[in-house]
Symmetry: C2
Subunit: 303 residues, 2 copies
């Protein structure tokens, strides 16, 4: 029987949340709020967030750690042998919606799930890790997409050359709006159910993904944050934010499962943009910077 060192993961995740919030506060010169919550059935979380900021119009960097005494069959449909075990899930999840339309929106998530060995049974704790990071630009800058993917690749290559291509493709497939026939953005990396390399190697990979976020994203912020913009660019940003809403509410498994299973609505929907617009059958003018975005929303090799 081997026990998962949960407290090590807990310490890493809370430290990651702190580091990211601190870096974003420093970049924006504005403080994040803190909202601590308890889950009646066990566990809780700490939401760090900002609304109406100059740099970040709406952003949340969330830590949560929830647990229960009996894993429901619905939560273990593909691993029925785990039903009834005690379980815990912890993770850091962030979505940042910057105000300047030239600064991309981004999302990052790192998480672990553990179903505990039952006392007196000859079995191990079962764990798996998941997560990823991805970028959703409004304007098509090749440098930004390449930089983001290069940092993703550099984070994963030390763990094995197969990871980046595999997780990049997974991300392209996951963040896809079928009804629009386009990706949510330029992708990044996405993975789930990681346990095959064993706990130590899997946790090391998770840390590499979490630690990649700031170097992948902050240089893009610094490069674009002072670009002047007009209401026309803000309107395009609001229109594209509508696609972000569509993906998250129609396709994102975490969002749908959370909303349908009594998850904490305000935390889950902190991924929503501050505002979004819809227009009927709208197309950007041919040759415009807005039209160039479409070329970024199909799978491409960026790194």
């Amino acid at each position: 029987m081997s026990a998962v060192p949960v407290s090590d993961v807990h310490a890493y995740l809370t430290g990651l949340q702190d580091n990211i919030v601190q870096a974003l506060e420093q970049a924006g010169g504005e403080s994040f709020r803190t909202d601590t919550w308890q889950r009646p059935e066990g566990g809780g979380g700490v939401s760090r967030l900002i609304e109406g900021g100059q740099l970040l119009e709406r952003a949340g960097v969330l830590f949560s750690h929830v647990h229960g005494t009996r894993l429901p069959p619905s939560a273990s449909a593909h691993r029925p042998e785990l039903a009834g075990r005690s379980w815990q899930a912890m993770g850091v999840s962030l979505v940042l919606h910057p105000r300047n339309p030239y600064v991309p929106t981004t999302h990052m998530n790192v998480r672990m799930f553990v179903a505990a060995a039952r006392p007196g049974h000859d079995e191990n704790d079962v764990f798996w890790f998941g997560g990823g990071l991805d970028l959703t630009p409004y304007y098509a800058f090749e440098d930004d997409a390449r930089h983001f993917h290069q940092v993703c690749r550099a984070a994963l290559d030390p763990h094995g050359a197969a990871y980046y291509p595999q997780y990049k493709r997974w991300c392209d497939e996951y963040f896809y709006l079928k009804h629009r026939q386009e990706m949510r953005g330029v992708g990044g990396v996405f993975f789930d159910d990681l346990n095959e390399p064993g706990f130590d190697a899997s946790f090391a990979l998770l840390r590499s993904v979490g630690d990649a976020f700031l170097p992948a994203y902050l240089p893009i912020v610094q490069r674009r944050r002072d670009t002047p913009y007009t209401q026309a660019q803000r309107d395009f940003q609001a229109y594209r934010r509508g696609r972000y809403v569509e993906f998250n509410l129609v396709f994102d498994r975490g969002t749908l499962f959370g909303l349908q299973s009594g998850g904490r609505t305000e935390s889950i929907l902190l991924s929503m943009p501050p505002m979004a617009q819809w227009r009927y059958d709208w197309q950007p003018a041919a040759g415009s910077p807005e039209a160039a975005l479409a070329g970024f929303l199909q799978p491409r090799d960026w790194a």
Copy 2:
């Protein structure tokens, strides 16, 4: 073998669309656009819509008639004996998002589905009707909710005293945001799978529902359209429109089925508001007009 008089329903529905658009154009003093589209697999539609109007900030009144030669098993899961029949579906669907926050948003839909008898088989055409109308106010005016429901009741009572209570409850249950524990608005009536009274009686009921829309809604428009408002009321409207987005994208079966089955995205998402806002864990001030809305978003007897 009895054949459904499809052309009668077609004539009623296109006439209803015309009447409603004409009445709304007259009320707003602004013309609707017309967008005609074809469905590659058979059929098409006529979308009448307005965006950026003074009275209606975004609104669509849509007619569609689509058909196919073989009903897919997925579309007839609860009636497996219909798989493989030729089929057609037609309907009028509207969503109106007025600009003035004191004028409620509204939705109406009337539709018919027919699976044709196969030539040489001893069977009948199978049909069913569905539809309804409902009201989503931003500010809580009891007169408006009562008027809307009274017109709904008056439309259904001639067909049988049981219809209004049954369809009112169905509407309360259908337009419910589980994760917010609130209804989308004050409801109205909702029904589906209506065929038991036979074609003539079912079609008559459908017409009563369709014809009820203008008398249910227009008097409310006239009563509220000149109420002065400020940016604070517009912001509350935008916040509440976020709930409309959440319902339609997370819960509405027609929207989800349409988006997942290759339906016409721009028509389906004409139900989206022109813009919506999200704020973290926001609550209106106690005792404010905005706080009063919550009392309208649980099932109540209105008529």
